[in-house]
Amino acid sequence: MERFVQGDEKGISELFTRHAGPLHGFVRRMVGDAADDVVQTTFVSISRSRGRYQRGAPFRPWLYAVAANAARDHLRRNRYEEHVSPAALPELVAEPEPLADPGLSRVVEAALAQLPANQREAVVLHRFEGFSFRQIADLLRVSETAVKVRAHRGYERLRVLLAHLRAES
């Protein structure tokens, strides 16, 4: 990133190669099928505003902060359409379990989609992207207590949703 700030175009290309795939997973859990657009907005924002990068700061939390802002902005302007309808959830859980389990991740994502955006954000960043609550607080620009509260509520709702699915299956 520092090379990119100093004018080396290859810097952003390497960052893109390294981070775009995993970032796409996070963004997809936040906004669903609009993930491509939001990932593009994220990296274009970084390109345009690279002068705001604080040298020496770790890049990944900053990248996810930008992506979280872009996802939030997208959700503010567009209704998030679940890519799996709630009615289909029990059928997916009841499918026989193959060695690989393609339906189950969709079930978890559909359950995540039922959470309010700020709870979903905290749960996804914590559970699936591996950030600590402290790091999440820094990149979302809120207090650590607020993050813990959002994550706790998100996990509670997720637990209820998945327990409901388990009982139905």
């Binding site: 990119f4 893109f16 390109s47 505003s49 705001r52 900053w62 389990d101």
Partner: protein, 254 residues
């Protein structure tokens, strides 16, 4: 409590233990919540970005990099500082220094408040645009410091007896804020929406009128200073926040 419920509770922990992972190996739903399952499962691969869509995004990103020159954030902060200071000085020349020349004025206190306001207009503007959000938000303390400073510097003598006599001060604050606030809005569009940062930019920019009035307005009563100087200053800053929320954002960088 069932093993699944225990696993679900431990999800909130910073690290799952061996017993949780052993349970997840045998339980489909719990296993799906493990980050490694989400990252490597066939569902994630099947629905991840395809190489064509990623390549399109890469092209757009490189195009943005080529078309947008590097602009260090402090240069934009310096630009805002210059606009604020220039506006304050021009308005000061236009309205005069009636208060400073008045025999009832507390000149050392007026000078001190003048310095506070000038620092707010300049260094405050740079700090308000700082990527470090704590420094930017520290500028919100101005909302407390400036009113206290203005009231302490006032001589306590009320000269504007009617609303009509007091209104020109409000007009000076509002009209002199136009150029700094518009400049601030343009710069704020180039970063992610942040209400507190926008408020900080508004407080520093709208202080141009306060600076000029500090040396001109002879009414030193707390009622006049708070009602016709401070209140419009706060309202202009709040208006900037409302307008910023409605403007499209050009970049989501904090």
């Amino acid at each position: 409590m069932s093993a699944c419920e225990t696993f679900a509770q431990h999800l909130e922990s910073e690290a799952l233990d061996d017993a949780d992972r052993a349970h997840a190996k045998g339980c489909r739903l719990c296993r799906a919540l493990l980050p490694e399952a989400a990252a490597t499962g066939p569902s994630a691969e099947g629905r991840g970005p395809n190489s064509a869509s990623l390549e399109r995004v890469r092209v757009a990103v490189l195009e943005a990099a080529r078309s947008a020159p590097v602009r260090p954030w402090w240069r934009l902060g310096a630009l805002l500082a210059v606009v604020n200071a220039a506006t304050a000085l021009v308005v000061s020349v236009m309205v005069g220094t009636g208060n400073w020349d008045s025999p009832a004025a507390h000149r050392p206190r007026l000078a001190a408040v003048g310095v506070l306001l000038l620092v707010s207009l300049t260094f405050g503007a740079v700090a308000a645009l700082d990527p470090n959000r704590r420094r930017a938000r520290a500028m919100l303390w101005l909302a407390l410091l400036v009113p206290v400073g203005l009231v302490l510097a006032g001589n306590g003598i009320a000269t504007a007896q009617t609303f009509g006599e007091a209104l020109p001060c409000t007009l000076v604050v509002c009209l002199s804020a136009v150029v700094p606030v518009v400049t601030g809005l343009v710069l704020l569009r180039g970063m992610a929406l942040d209400g507190r940062r926008a408020m900080a930019v508004g407080l520093t920019g709208a202080a141009a009128g306060l600076f000029a009035l500090n040396f001109e307005c002879r009414d030193g009563s707390a009622r006049h200073l708070l009602g016709f100087h401070v209140l419009p200053w706060l309202l202009v800053a709040a208006l900037l926040v409302l307008v910023r929320r409605r403007l499209p954002t050009q970049s989501q960088v904090p």
